[in-house]
């Protein structure tokens, strides 16, 4: 490897040739023969070149960046393809992305033998190794630390020393170690196989179990002082190491920090929000910047060459992660100072400056020069970063100093950029709305299930609110706080159908809360646009902007963060974990898979390059938003699907190896995938929809366990993805190919995926991949989604927040050495997204459908959406229309038929089930009309809707075609539904009507009685019923006592009260049946008290009794109220209840005249029948009374009965003589 680089440096081969050599194994026709010869001899090593180069650069820079900002966590390291290496050492780590580059196929090449031999030897036991092993085991965690821990440690562990080589007999057949004649005399280092890198394994609990020796692929042979294992630079290129600035103690401290950080990062319920990205404060303060000067760059040419090779590798996607390399370059650009190499390599010969033996970066100047060289090659990528990053880049004084031209281009790019990006999270939860169509009783198997779900919905939100309130509090624990409640709730979900209801709620809520950071209004796919965003979008936008300012920029944990569940997603993850319900998980996976399929297959609009005017641009904004919403939803769903699907296979234990692994593989390969992602990917690639499919697939795969990539099924997927990755060369842009930002998005997500610890290290470089092999034979449309500019910076940064690390790096540089990663100002531009229309349905089939498709092909996409939308809505409305007309008519018929039945069959009416059958057999045949009616409805309604929605200049022919298609689609939709469901619908409605009628037949006939409302002129000023009941109650309580001596009522008050009662009863606006019933009862009680003269009257003691005439007047009022105003039944028989009549017993002298008067009036007014009164009087005799009272009662009874029913005038007369008779009675 080094030989390649060296021959390059010696200008024996051109950069282009090298890159061609790497990228395309065999094609070398353009190369000159010399180059070809030089390189072809090195062919077997081709695949090792890139990892070597990356490791080389990292190593070279380690002196510059020991204390810099967060380093790329998963830095590439040259492979050590040691056969039999037991598993990938770093695979066990979950959260940390610290593995190095993998062993390549070198092991199978010519170079294998010596290499392996040497490796084997090196792996032999030795004191140094043992020491190193321990040191590493403890120190590996530094890899993931912000600051240069990882790099430094890597250095410490990668000490392939010349001494080692010397101990080996030179292998002259090794072309790597002995390049062809003419090359530089192989120095000691030159002969060495470049350092085998340690696989620094981040520490996690499970690591403590694994064997330390698996960490090594190349033990330090040259003795390193054991107290300072990292102090010596043992790199073959010298100077790769910082001085031993850290003691073991310090490392342990870092280790502890790292451990706790990993605990926080690991996606388990025990982790609170990760605190990421802040450099160690202890180091931040001591930095002093070294100025960089272009004039002081050493060996420009060499740097230029390396930069060119490096850039070319990046450009050809030969590196796994574009943004990681950019991050690295930015680090070089913003390096603060060079660590002085105290102990420069003693074996370094200072004379050989143009070989690799001298350090590549000898000063800050070199670093910056190199960085700027690389950046110049990647201006296109840079110019597509967000505006904030561009600004910081353009303002970077080093950049200005080293390349004014680049700076100028960047400034121009900044000024022209509109790519403002905001990553503020939308505000808190909004509940999923209740939808009767899916949520009402009819959708549940039983009342119990319905009510259980009702409760569960409330518990779910209660838990959610509690989480919102507490999850940020230190010490709060999800499982402890909510776990048992969640499980109790899940325990109630007995019926399978309830599970699906709950899962639907869960999934909708998930989408609603987590789908779009930065999307104002939180519009949910498939839901109506939120009114919030329409109403106060501006205000809300400002609020969020403010919020965003207040919050420190979210750090996503370096340029390669592990998959996490930020924000609200954490709730859903923890909920799944705490619920630990396999039924729930299964239903959730089903539901997620379904939704993913649905969204992935959504017909998203395609860009028409021809339409470039402003109008279509407005349209295009909408399309782009729609794409973003769909993509983000898909990613979210896929992430959770991956999480749940692989949950059973993920554990803290290290990945299995050997036989165990084989048996697991055999077993797992039998298990069908939860969702056929391979097919979806293949189809996506074919249909040129990679930009939609790949990002969610990456989310799904990021949760795969260690075994998954080894399964054939998934291996195919990875290979497809790798090929895709290689094919996405940013510089190749052409009509019909993928857009730049689309590519950038895919590169970013794929690069991120390749860094996931569970993705095998060897995967990326293993694949023999000339990218041109990846030409999917497409029968796809000319312009697939990939060719449409659907991705913008907002979406890119939303999907890949880690790209924002670049900006942080630059901002950190600007902010000086303060080292606060959140302290810089940010340009804030919330982009508002509003909802998208309903999802078009895809029902078209047959020739007509194909014709329709063809028709749409040359029309603007909005036309198609309009037609589909209209068809969908009209079709749906048609069903509702049929329900409201035809079905409602049938129900009315059913009701009248039922009434007839009831009349003929008498009160009982027969068995309801039987009745229903009879009715249905009569009515259901009428359902056949539904189709004709439906067709008619669609024909009538659709054209108007299409007309209204299409622009006016739409040509008549197009318009009428569109109308016809809309009519057809709507009819198809409606008729399909109707023909399948109309009978069931009629049945259901009739059944409901029957049970309604039968219920109404039952008790409470009074409630059914027709009620008179108040007159039109009524202004509803009558006293309120509650007030009257309360007033009358007071009078009653005064009357029955106990009372104070000064308590009583005035006759006027009583009169007024009854007057008000009349008003209230006549108004009825506020009157409800129970109130009327009580008023009726109270009025009867009041009458009884009047009759018994029990109402305490206010006034001078002499007047404590109500005047007879007054009493009679009041009774008259009451009679009139009963007769005229009460609409419900009045319990007049209570007047003759033993209790009320008994009131008379207390009065002395007893006066019966009022009672008699009342009874007569009741009869006269037809309020009570004579017989009824007689019966009451009769039953009164049965009660026990004092002797004299019983006698008097008998007299009254006789008196009343003796009177013949007289015509009115005589009754009047009778009334006139009443007092006398009363007196007589009283005196008797």
């Amino acid at each position: 490897m080094a030989a390649v680089l060296e021959s390059l440096l010696r200008e024996e081969v051109s950069v282009a040739a090298v890159v061609r050599w790497i990228a395309h194994s065999t094609r070398g026709s353009e190369d000159n023969p010399g180059e070809a010869a030089a390189l072809s001899s090195l062919r077997p090593l081709r695949k090792e070149f890139v990892p070597f180069l990356l490791n080389f650069l990292r190593e070279q820079s380690s002196r510059v960046l020991p204390q810099g900002p967060p380093t790329p966590a998963k830095a590439p390291g040259a492979s050590a393809a040691l056969p039999g290496r037991p598993g990938g050492p770093s695979r066990g780590s979950r959260g940390a992305r610290s593995q190095l580059f993998p062993p390549t196929e070198a092991a199978s090449t010519a170079a294998e033998a010596p290499l392996a031999r040497r490796g084997g030897r090196r792996r032999g036991p030795g004191p140094a190794r043992e020491r190193g092993g321990r040191g590493l085991e403890e120190g590996v965690s530094g890899e993931n630390l912000p600051g240069a821990g990882g790099r430094r440690l890597r250095g410490s562990g990668s000490p392939s020393r010349p001494s080692l080589t010397l101990s080996d007999p030179p292998n002259l057949s090794n072309l790597e170690e002995f390049p062809p004649v003419g090359s530089v005399p192989p120095g000691p280092a030159g002969r060495t196989k470049p350092s085998r890198r340690i696989n620094p394994t981040p520490v996690s609990e499970e690591r403590s179990l694994s064997k330390p020796k698996t960490c090594f692929t190349s033990p330090p042979i040259s003795c390193v002082p054991s107290s300072q294992p990292s102090a010596l630079d043992t790199s073959p290129w010298g100077l790769g190491l910082p001085p031993g600035c850290r003691s073991l103690q310090e490392e342990r401290e870092m280790l502890r920090k790292e451990r706790s950080k990993q605990l926080q990062q690991s996606p388990t319920p025990t982790c609170p929000t990760p605190e990421l990205g802040s450099p160690l404060p202890s180091r931040a303060g001591s930095l002093t910047d070294e100025p960089a000067d272009p004039a002081r760059v050493s060996s420009r040419q060499r740097l230029e060459l390396v930069a060119l090779v490096y850039s070319s590798c990046i450009a050809e996607n030969l590196v796994p992660n574009l943004f990681l390399e950019l991050f690295f370059v930015f680090q070089l650009l913003t390096a603060r100072r060079m660590v002085t190499a105290k102990d420069s390599d003693p074996e370094l010969s200072p004379g050989v400056l143009d070989s690799l033996e001298s350090p590549l970066f000898q000063s800050i100047h070199d670093c910056v020069f190199f960085a700027v060289q690389v950046l110049e090659c990647h201006f296109q990528v840079l110019s597509n970063l967000d505006k904030g990053t561009l600004k910081l880049l353009a303002e970077n004084e080093r950049l200005l100093c080293f390349s004014p031209a680049l700076q100028g281009r960047l400034r121009a790019a900044y000024e022209g950029s509109v790519a403002k990006v905001s990553l503020a999270m939308p505000p808190s939860a909004q509940a999923v709305s209740f939808q009767p169509e899916t949520d009402n009783r009819a959708n549940f198997s039983s009342d119990r299930a319905f009510h259980t779900f009702k409760k569960q919905r409330d518990v779910f939100y209660e838990v959610l609110r509690e989480w919102e309130d507490h999850h940020e509090e230190p010490g709060w624990d999800f499982e402890k706080g909510l776990g048992s409640r969640i499980r109790a709730m899940m325990g109630q979900l007995s019926a399978a159908c309830s599970h699906s209801h709950f899962v639907r709620l869960f999934q909708k809520q998930l989408l609603q809360m987590c789908q779009s950071p930065g999307g104002a209004g939180g519009t949910v796919l498939g839901e109506a646009p939120d009114v919030l965003s329409m109403l106060g979008a501006d205000k809300l936008g400002r609020l969020w902007r403010l919020q965003e300012r207040l919050m420190a920029p979210q750090s996503s944990g370096g340029p390669c963060p592990p998959p996490t569940f930020p924000g609200c997603q954490g709730f859903f993850r923890d909920f799944i974990l705490s619920a630990s319900s396999f039924q729930f998980n299964q239903h959730l996976m089903d539901s997620l898979s379904l939704k993913i399929r649905e969204l992935n297959g959504l017909a998203l609009p395609q860009h028409e390059p021809s339409d470039e005017d402003g109008e279509s641009d407005v349209d295009w904004q909408g399309e782009r938003r729609q794409f973003a919403v769909v993509l983000l939803s898909l990613r979210l769903l896929a992430k959770f699907l991956g999480f749940v699907a692989f949950l059973p296979y993920r554990g803290p234990e290290p990945p299995p190896t050997g036989e165990l692994q084989d048996s697991i593989l055999a077993l797992r390969s039998q298990v069908p995938p939860v969702l056929d992602v391979r097919t979806l990917l293949q189809r996506g690639l074919q249909a040129r929809r990679a930009v939609l499919t790949v990002p969610w697939l990456v989310e799904f795969l990021s949760f795969a366990d260690h075994v998954v990539p080894l399964l054939d099924y998934y291996r195919d997927i990875f290979i497809l993805l790798l090929r895709l990755h290689r094919s996405l060369v940013l510089s190749q842009e052409s009509e019909g190919k993928m857009c730049f930002l689309n590519k950038l998005l895919l590169l970013a997500v794929l690069g991120w995926l390749f860094q996931i610890p569970t993705v095998p290290e060897d995967l990326f470089f293993l694949e023999e991949g000339p990218s041109d092999a990846f030409e999917v034979d497409t029968v796809a449309p000319e312009h697939g989604l990939d060719a449409a500019p659907v991705v913008d910076q907002q979406l890119l940064y939303t999907c890949c927040p880690y790209i924002g690390e670049l900006r942080k790096l630059l901002a950190l540089w600007v902010s000086g050495s303060s080292g606060r990663s959140g302290g810089f100002m940010r340009k804030i531009t919330p982009t508002t997204t509003t909802g998208l229309g309903a999802q078009p349905s895809q029902t078209s089939q047959g020739l007509q459908a194909r014709l329709a498709q063809a028709f749409f092909h040359n029309q603007p996409p909005s036309l198609r959406r309009t037609v589909e939308f209209v068809a969908e809505r009209i079709g749906s409305n048609c069903v509702k229309h049929i329900k409201a007309t035809l079905v409602a008519d049938l129900v009315r018929q059913a009701e009248s038929l039922l009434q007839e039945q009831l009349v003929t069959q008498g009160e009982e009416g027969g068995d309801p089930a039987q009745l229903l059958e009879i009715l249905c057999s009569q009515l259901c045949p009428h359902g056949a009309q539904a189709l004709a009616l439906g067709r008619e409805f669609c024909q009538r309604k659709s054209p108007g809707a299409v007309q209204a929605l299409l622009p006016e200049e739409t040509p008549a022919a197009v318009l009428s075609s569109a109308e016809n298609i809309a009519v057809g689609l709507a009819t198809e939709k409606a008729c399909a539904w109707l023909s399948a469901n109309i009978t069931a619908l009629i049945r259901r409605e009739v059944k409901a009507a029957v049970s309604r009628t039968l219920r109404a037949q039952g008790p409470e006939p009074a409630a059914r009685g027709e009620r008179r409302g108040c007159s039109r002129a009524c202004e509803h000023h009558a006293p309120l019923p509650s007030h009257l009941i309360s007033e009358i109650k007071d009078v009653l309580s005064l009357a029955v006592g106990p009372r104070d001596p000064d308590e009583g009522v005035s006759p006027e008050h009583l009169e007024q009260l009854l007057g008000q009662l009349g008003q209230t009863l006549r108004c009825r606006q506020f009157l409800c049946p129970p109130a009327e019933q009580h008023l009726a009862k109270c009025s009867v009680e009041l009458a009884s008290l009047l009759v018994a003269d029990q109402i305490p009257i206010l006034g001078p003691p002499a007047q404590y009794r109500l005047e007879r005439g007054q009493a009679r007047r009041l009774l008259h009022m009451l009679l009139s109220l009963w007769k005229e105003d009460f609409q419900g039944p009045v319990p007049l028989q209570l007047l003759l209840s033993p209790r009320n009549v008994g009131l008379l017993a207390d009065t002395r002298p007893r006066e019966w005249d009022l009672l008699l008067f009342l009874l007569r009036e009741l009869v006269e007014k037809g309020l009570m029948g004579r017989m009824e009164i007689e019966a009451c009087l009769g039953s009164l005799h049965q009660a026990q009374w004092p002797g004299d009272f019983a006698e008097e009662l008998a007299t009254l009874s006789n008196l009343f009965l003796a009177e013949p029913p007289l015509p009115e005038p005589q009754l009047r007369a009778c009334e006139l003589v009443q007092p006398n008779r009363g007196t007589v009675l009283a005196q008797s």
Binding site: A431, F434, R441, D458, Y461, L535, G536, V1040, Q1077, G1142
Partner: protein, 301 residues
């Protein structure tokens, strides 16, 4: 009518073990003339109910019931003479008062600090147990309480009736008044909504559609009140104190939020100011129909 917590507590303080009678209410009104009567009554009623809930169990031990029943029986029988004297004395004093029956049960309830209506129910249950073999059903008891004429014993019937009309916190009459008040305010709210041209679905319509939780009104087009979005309105014809508000939140308001989004609760008789703390979360409290309602402009839509 919106009280601070301190104001509310001052009122509540005055209500500790005050019997639920007309007289108590009158005194309360005199003590806090600036507060509306309805508010005071509502607070009184709620405080008393809290008190009863706390002490309810104590009155429902079989020993307690037995002792009440015995005392009542003794009063009505053995101590008749004493009662006669008292009655005469009363008569003498008042010169006018003619009590149909001495308030034995009512006095007993006040004496042991229990709601008269509930005491009446207790005794009635016990009485029926004694006179009928089977334990009386709840509906029979309720029916007798609603209409004491159905009680087989005339004396007891009078006693029960007296308890019921004198209890201003419990009993069928009070229940009916509360229900009527609730209904009236719903009607009032409906009128106001109609007047403002806000279209809505009411509880009955929602129930017919199969909604599992039904606020009084769901607005078909949401509005904004004081910057808060309102999807639904719930009318509460009572004072919103901590206890009832939390119960309502748990049983109703959050459930509405869970289904329909943010909404408005009108506590017509006021509430404790501090409880209006979920505005941002989507539950707004008001003590009257809001005056500044922002509706969706059709030009925007």
């Amino acid at each position: 009518m919106i009280l601070t917590k301190a104001q509310y507590e001052e009122i509540a303080q005055c209500l500790v073990s005050v019997p639920p009678t007309r007289q108590s209410l009158r005194k309360l009104k005199q003590r806090f003339p600036s507060q509306s009567q309805a508010t005071l009554l509502s607070i009184f009623s709620q405080e008393y109910q809290k008190h009863i809930k706390r002490t309810h169990a104590k009155h429902h031990t079989s020993e307690a019931i037995e002792s009440y029943y015995q005392r009542k029986t003794e009063y009505l029988k053995g101590k008749c003479a004493f009662l006669e004297i008292r009655r005469s004395a009363n008569r003498y004093l008042n010169g006018v008062v003619k009590n149909g029956a001495a308030p034995v049960l009512l006095d007993l309830a006040n004496e042991v600090d229990y709601a008269p209506s509930l005491m009446a129910r207790l005794i009635l249950e016990r009485f029926l147990q004694e006179h009928e073999e089977t334990a009386p059903s709840k509906s029979v008891i309720n029916s007798m309480l609603r209409d004491p004429s159905q009680i087989p014993d005339g004396v007891l019937a009078n006693q029960v009736y007296q308890c019921i009309v004198n209890d201003c916190c419990y009993g069928p009459l009070v229940d009916c008044i509360k229900h009527a008040i609730g209904h009236e305010h719903e009607v009032l709210l409906r009128d106001l909504l109609l007047e403002k041209n806000l279209s809505f679905l009411d509880e009955d319509q929602l129930r017919a559609k199969g909604y599992d939780k039904t606020p009084d009104f769901i607005l078909q087009v949401p509005v904004a009140v004081e910057g808060h979005i309102i999807h639904w309105i719930e009318s509460k014809a009572s004072f919103g104190d901590e206890c009832s508000h939390h119960a309502y939140l748990h049983d109703q308001f959050w459930s509405y939020w869970n289904r329909f989004g943010p909404g408005l609760v009108i506590y017509w008789y006021g509430f404790i100011q501090e409880l209006d703390c979920n505005r941002e979360r989507g539950i707004l409290l008001k003590a009257c129909f809001p005056t500044n309602i922002v509706t969706l402009c059709h030009s925007l839509a």
